[in-house]
Structures are given as C-alpha cells and as structure tokens.
Amino acid sequence: MKLKTTAGLIASLLGAALIAAPAQAQDARIALLGGISGPIAAMAPPMIAASELAVKQVNEQGGIGNGGTLRHVVGDSACNPQNATDAATKAVNIDRVIGIVGPHCSGAVLAAANSVAVPAGVLMITPSGTSPQITAIDDKDLVFRTVPSDDYQGRALARTIKERGMAKVAVAYLNNDYGKGLAESFKAEFEALGGEIAGYSAHEDGKASYRSDLAQLARGGADTLVIFDYGDGTGLTLLRQALENNFFTNYVGADGMKSDAVIRELGADNLETFFTSAPVGEASESLENFRAAFSAAGGNPDAIFTTTAYDAAFLMALAIEKAGGDRAKLSESLRAVASAPGEPILPGEWAKAKQLIAEGKDIDYKGAAGDHEFNQAGDVAGNYAFFKVSGDTYEAIADMK
C-alpha cells in the first residue's frame, strides 16, 4: 500500500515536471550547479549570474548549431555531497543536460563526479573546486576546472623564491585548510628543488604573542620566513613581532597576506623585504571584456570566482558547438577550443567563434580568468605574480611560473 502511494506520488510529481519542460531537438541543455543554499550561499548567486551571462551572450549571438538555443537549468548543490548528487542526477536524467557547470564546493564536485557525471558520461567543469583531490578523480577525461588547484600556488611560490636565491627558509602557517594546504605543497616543492626548510610549524589563530613560535623557527638559522596566513588577522601580528625582533631578513606571504592592512599598520619603510604571491586576472583584454559585459548586466565583476564561472560556461558552450551537440565528443572538443594553437576568442565573442567553428578553423579561448590550457588531468595553471610593497600599495615584480 505504502509503496504504491509513494510510487504514485513520485510519478505524478515527475509527470508535472516533465510536461512543463518539453525539450527541442536541436537545443542543447546544460546545468549550472551551485551552492545556492548552504555555507557559500553569499558567493553562489554572482557566480551563477556570471555563468548565465555567458549563456545569454551565446543565445543573443546566434545560439547553438543551426538555430538551436542553449538552455540551462540551475541546480542547488548546497555544498554537500547529498544535495550535489541529487541535483546532478536530476540534471542528467530529468533535464537531459549534456554538460554541468559546477558544483562549487570540492566535496560536492568529488561526489557528483564520481557517482553521476563520470558514470553517465556527462562533461563537468567546476569554476571553484580547488581541492587537489579533484585532479586524481578517475574521470574518463570528463572533469575539468577553470580554477587552479590549491596545490598550484604553494608550488609556484616555492619555485619563485628558490629562483630568487632564498634557499633556507622557515615556514609558519595558520592551522586551517588554507594555511595547511599551501604549506604542504610549498614544502614538497621547495625540498624537491633542493631548498632547505629550517623550521616548519603551525600556529593557532588569535593569540596575543607569537614570539616564542618565532624564536623557535629562527633557531634553525633561516634568513627567510614564509607565512601562510591572513594579513588582516594573525599574519599581521606574526609579521610585526618578527620585524620588531629582527628574527629574519626576508618575509614572504601568499595571497592571504597581500592585504592593505599590512602596509597601513607596519609602514612601507619597514616592508622593503616583504613579498607576496597573489593571483592576477591577467590584465588582459579578455578580463576587460568580461568586466564590461558583467557590469552592464548588473553584476559585480569583483565578486569572487565570477571570472572562472563565466569561463566555465562559455567554454562549455564552445565545446558543445564544436562537438555539434554530440556528447561523446564533448571533452575532446573542449580541449580543442581551449588550447593553443588557434584563432584567439575573447569573452563575449560568440558570433566570431561560431563562424570559425563552422568554417572548420581551430580556435583558442582566452578567458577572463586566464588562458585555460588544460593539462592531462583537466586542471589549469593559475596566473600568479610576485609582489613587493611600493608606496601605499603592492606592485607586481615578476610572473610566477
């Protein structure tokens, strides 16, 4: 009895949903999955809006294939695996999407990829899943991302400072996901390059004094202190106390330390040997294109991950166009449209891309967040630069490879 009622309930609700959504043959459908409810609820709507901007541009400039429309559904992955797999299953089976942009959180990406997208053969591009675990998914070349792995910045920073002659360093990191992830990847790369880590310790947030931690780190004889922390918080205290006591000569931080509070509180005069790494949306025409279009559409282009969310959706559309809507060819097409060589395509240039694809020419999408040359695992290299303090602000002094 109960089973019948349940089945009847499911059937009637699904029936209602289906009647309302007739799919047209030449249309292509994609899903935008995001953490709409849940811990990143404040970040998700601008990201979804950026992806929707890409969809809108596609449809305004000729759509998909021969007169088809790019349609999208928005799913709530809520930043947890339970809802992410649920939303992905609905997108794949009910809405019949051929590609998924999202989900936003790493745990959601892992679950949705492993239990839905990969088995079902659906292409997935996440704009903000930064966990190194995503690299390792056995994904049949179906899982990509437009944001660099957390691993990347730590490793790039290790290479950069080793190259600049700092060979013996001490590392102080905040004991959370951010600090720990960076510290681990930094350490692995730095040691592989033959550098020496003369001190390595975690510190807890919000203590009044870190002098004993610093003294301990300095004992190893390092001349450089690498800080993985936030310049608005504990990192500032740590840096101030290290400078006051002259524990080290050079100070290096990652993007969290690149904060105006550091210059304001400590003074540029005292920060001549302070450097940070930080991502740069390559000051490019691509970024300008996106900023102008997104502002015009009422969005805030400075909101976090909007550039990667836009690029993920635009790349998805390019891949669909290139593959002629054939889901089996999608990942191969994605690699083709994203990688050099080819005619450069900037954000918003859908009509041009469409024409070039129709002529059978190779294209290379240069996104708002970067060039997006996918590697074997579907990851992208980040664009990071090395900054020093100059006057009241930070000045980029070198690109980080």
């Binding site: 109960k2 349940t6 309930l9 499911i10 609700l13 699904l14 209602a16 949903a17 289906l18 309302a20 959504a21 709409i36 409810s37 709507p45 979804i48 929707e52 559904v73 928005v74 799913g75 709530d76 809520a78 930043c79 947890n80 695996p81 339970q82 809802n83 797999t85 649920d86 939303a87 299953t89 609905k90 794949v92 089976n93 009910i94 809405d95 019949r96 959180c105 790493s106 745990g107 959601a108 892992l110 679950a111 492993n114 239990s115 088995p119 079902a120 053969g121 966990s131 190194p132 675990q133 390792a136 998914i137 004991n175 996901d177 720990k180 992830g181 681990e184």
Partner: protein, 315 residues
C-alpha cells in the same frame, strides 16, 4: 519520453532514501523505543563512513589506510567501530536525561567532526578520502545504480526485519517499559542503565552501516557530508514525521521528506530563473512547515506507534 531518465532518477532517490531510512530506523531504536534523545546522529554516520573508507580505499600518500579490504568487511567494520565508540560515550552520557543528553550528543558529534577535519593522517582532513570502491561500480551507469539499489534495499530489509523481530520480543516490551516509566521498570528488576546502553550501541552500529553505504555510493567522503543539518536534523524530521516508535513510519518518513526535498526543486526550476534561485529555499520552508503541521495536528506522526492492549505471548 525519457523513461530511462525517470527510472534512473527514481533509482537514485531509492538509494538515498534507503540510506536515510537506515539512519531513521537506527534513531527509532534510540528515541522511538528507548527514549534516548540522540542529537549526534551525524557523528556515528561519520564514524561508519570513515571507517569503511579507510579500510577499503586504495592506498594514498598523505594518510593512513588504503588497506583495500573487501567491501563487505568494511561495512562490518563500520558497524563494529561505531558500536565500540558508542560504548564509552553511552557509558558517560546516558546518565543524562532528555535535553541534557541531546546537548551532550551534539557536543560529541561536533568533536568527531573536528577530529575528522584536523587529523589529516587519518582522514585526509578537509580534503577527505577518495578512491573508495563501489560494488558493481564497473557496470554501466544504469546497471551500476540498479545493483547498488538492490544492495541498499537488502540492507534496509534485513535491518528492518531484525529490528521488528527484536522489538516484538520481550526485549522490545522491556525497552518501552523503560521509556515510559523508568522507575516502574527498575522496580520490576530491569537493569535500566545497561538496557539503555544496549539500545544506544545497537542504534549507533546501524548508523555506522548507513555511513558506510553512503561513502561507497559516492566513492568519496569529505567533512561536508557530515554537516549536522543534513546528517542529524533532517533525520529527526524524518522520524518525527513518519512516526517515532513505528519502524514502517521511520522508513516512510525518510521517503516522504527526501522526495519533497528532491522533487520540489524540479518544480521550482520551471519558474523564471530570476525567481528560481530564490525559490530553492522554498523546499527548506516546506519541510519546516510540514514539521510544524505534523507536530500541531498529528504529533504521533503519519504512522503512529502500534500499542497492543493485550500483548500475546509470555510477558
């Protein structure tokens, strides 16, 4: 039209409903039959999930484990470890009554969550564990899901039958006696403390099994999956709505809540996009509203506890 798609979606829902039904059944043993207010379901779910993940996954560099045990052994270990951890916790916490017990168990679950988040060597920290095998995972999409559904259904059925059997036995009547009038039960010579501990351990082991079934389905686990909202309170709502004290009610509650949760999104997606994003919150509202209505008009749940006036058999 897309019958395969519909079937696929229904299979997926069946799997998640099955996993939640196990949790709900386990909570029913603790709350429905023994009156233990366990607000730390997520903790035992997590222990089972991580135990099986560590034992059965492929080896990884940065953490312990990856022993590649057979999956069934992993599940058994999940139940065993959850039970073993429940024992000392029960020993300490079960001296508290109702709301105090709830607070203590929330605290315990939070401790587990933080341990899982910080002890990288054991659990992979915030990056979690991947490379967990799924039984029949090599089959094509539909067949693989179907096979997993079969496993989950078998697990739910076995647990349901065993729990029903146990509760119809004198043990079940004793538990109800303890729940309804502890002093009287004690006066009849029942060992109240030991029995309450038994129920707590029994329920926790089943929660561990549900956790194990969940990780093998997703082939991965991260701390996001053990958020109290989705792994504790949702289960309480399922049990209260379905009818605490009734095992079929516990399963029905899991089905009703999950179907509302999942299907309502399909309906709100038909709205224009500007509204659709806001409308996602409506499902949270609907579930809250249903809980209010049930508590107001049918506090015993959809399928209330069956009370037999004259129980047959030896008392």
């Amino acid at each position: 039209m897309e019958l395969i798609g519909l079937a696929n979606y229904a299979i997926f829902m069946g799997i998640l409903i099955g996993i939640y039904a196990l949790l709900s059944l386990a909570l029913n043993i603790q709350w429905g039959f023994t009156g233990l207010f366990n607000a730390g379901v997520a903790g035992f779910f997590a222990i089972g999930a991580y135990t099986s993940a560590i034992l059965t996954s492929t080896p990884a560099l940065n953490r312990m484990g990856g022993f590649e045990w057979p999956i069934l052994l992993g599940w058994a270990a999940a139940m065993l470890v959850a039970a073993m951890i429940a024992w000392p916790i029960g020993k300490i916490c079960l001296r508290f009554r109702s709301d105090y017990l709830a607070i203590a168990t929330i605290g315990v679950a939070e401790i587990f969550r933080l341990i899982i988040k910080s002890e990288d060597w054991l659990t992979g920290g915030s990056r979690g564990i991947t490379g967990i095998p799924r039984p029949f995972g090599d089959l094509p999409y539909v067949q693989s899901q179907l096979a997993y559904l079969a496993l989950v259904v078998i697990a739910v059925l076995v647990v349901y039958l065993l729990v029903e059997r146990q509760l119809k036995a004198p043990w079940g009547r004793m538990m109800r006696a303890i729940r309804d009038n502890e002093a009287a039960a004690a006066a009849m010579g029942k060992q109240v403390e030991a029995r309450r501990l038994q129920a707590f351990i029994f329920g926790s082991a089943i929660m561990g099994l549900a956790g194990a079934l969940f990780v093998h389905f997703n082939r991965s686990i991260t701390p996001e999956a053990i958020d109290p909202m989705i792994a504790t309170f949702l289960i309480w709502i399922m049990l209260i709505l379905g009818g605490s004290g009734n095992n079929r009610g516990a399963i029905l509650g899991a089905a009703v809540i999950w179907i509302i949760w999942s299907v309502s999104e399909l309906l709100t997606d038909r709205l224009p996009t500007e509204v659709a994003i806001q409308a996602k919150y409506i499902r949270i509202f609907i579930i809250g509203l249903m809980l209010q209505l049930v508590l107001r008009f049918r506090p015993e749940g959809i399928l209330p506890e069956e009370r037999k006036r004259n129980p047959v058999g030896p008392g």
